[in-house]
Symmetry: C2
Subunit: 241 residues, 2 copies
Amino acid sequence: MSPDQVIAHLKKHVLFQGCTDAFLNDLAEKAVLQRLSKGQVLFLQHDEAKRFFLVLKGWIKLYRETLDGAQAIVDVVPSGQMFGEAPLFLDHTSSFGAEATDVSEVISLPLQPLEAELKKNPAFALEMLKHMAQRQQNQERELEHRDLQTAPQRIGCFILRLAKQDAEGSVTLHLPYDKNLVAQRLGMQPETFSRALSKLKKATNMEVKGSTIRLESLQTLAEFCCAGCSSTFPCGDLTSK
Amino acid sequence: MSPDQVIAHLKKHVLFQGCTDAFLNDLAEKAVLQRLSKGQVLFLQHDEAKRFFLVLKGWIKLYRETLDGAQAIVDVVPSGQMFGEAPLFLDHTSSFGAEATDVSEVISLPLQPLEAELKKNPAFALEMLKHMAQRQQNQERELEHRDLQTAPQRIGCFILRLAKQDAEGSVTLHLPYDKNLVAQRLGMQPETFSRALSKLKKATNMEVKGSTIRLESLQTLAEFCCAGCSSTFPCGDLTSK
């Protein structure tokens, strides 16, 4: 991949939109395109972190793992989003592992020029603060939902957030990855997920065939899920997609 | 409280240790000491945020609340720590409410000079990024523990993190606030907490009298809890207290 192509991808991410050419060139020069097969590990938790990543294709699972192999999913990162920059602000070791859940492509970028730019460019540092604050707010919501939403509500919320928030009438959606991974993403055992999905379908007249979901209206689903949430629908942190 | 006293308190927080006198004076000039009674609300979720806070005494509960009054605790902030700066990087509304869980004192500080300083001082912005990354890592750990630790392990982990991490032999600790709030902090119903605490006591020979906890050794407790965690004891994010 040419440096120009890397820069074009970077400029699609809000964090890099106001950046200087010099900085973007510096990043792009040392960028590497990595193609990953399904299940391929990109790095492990506790690894020394020297690079961060922008997803171009597929899904990257970020996870934390105990010695006996139990995994908690931190995030499943879609194309267009980045991960792996936080170690720059901590002890330069990664607090999670990263693994492709499907055939994926990522651009691997060096952390060093990112750090140098943050040190001299306060406008860029402020963009990075916005980026991290957004992620922090997402985690707060996630923790809230673990406490206050039922399992069917949590699955419903996951689905609701896939939709164009102002869609009217009946809506067809597609699960972005397989149900086992959705269950794991939501911190549920597969059996719990299965039972909760049945309840959700009954409560909201939702139809599910494979990965395709059909809803009579988003509003019905929102009424069901958002009763267990401190925010109101449409979700403030989602722009109209 | 005089501006000099405010500055002395600010300088105890790592975020403000490298700051210029001009900036600290600016913050201190508009600082207000607020005394709160037990249960007093400082601000509500969704309020417009114009100030941030440094806790001097007591405990401030940060929480998110659904329309029907169910609460999820985001954090319980001890003295010496700050909260309420994140809205600066989002939409200037607070993503949680704040309430004193005991007689408390906070210094209320204006967000505007903080924003101005971040815009012109990249070294300060980098300190703020470190501060937020640390908080993000704490939330990741919290989400991991919800997925992977049992209820007794989670209570044990809460207690373990109160201790001086390199303490040897038998250890006496004090719960920082009442058991109901600890339960709520951990996202547990009081009955679940009660049952889990009994199991924890049996499994680790822990004695609990009121808010006083006696352990034969930290190591026994760590062996019990850390089996359900992706990190190892002593906890990397805690300095030796």
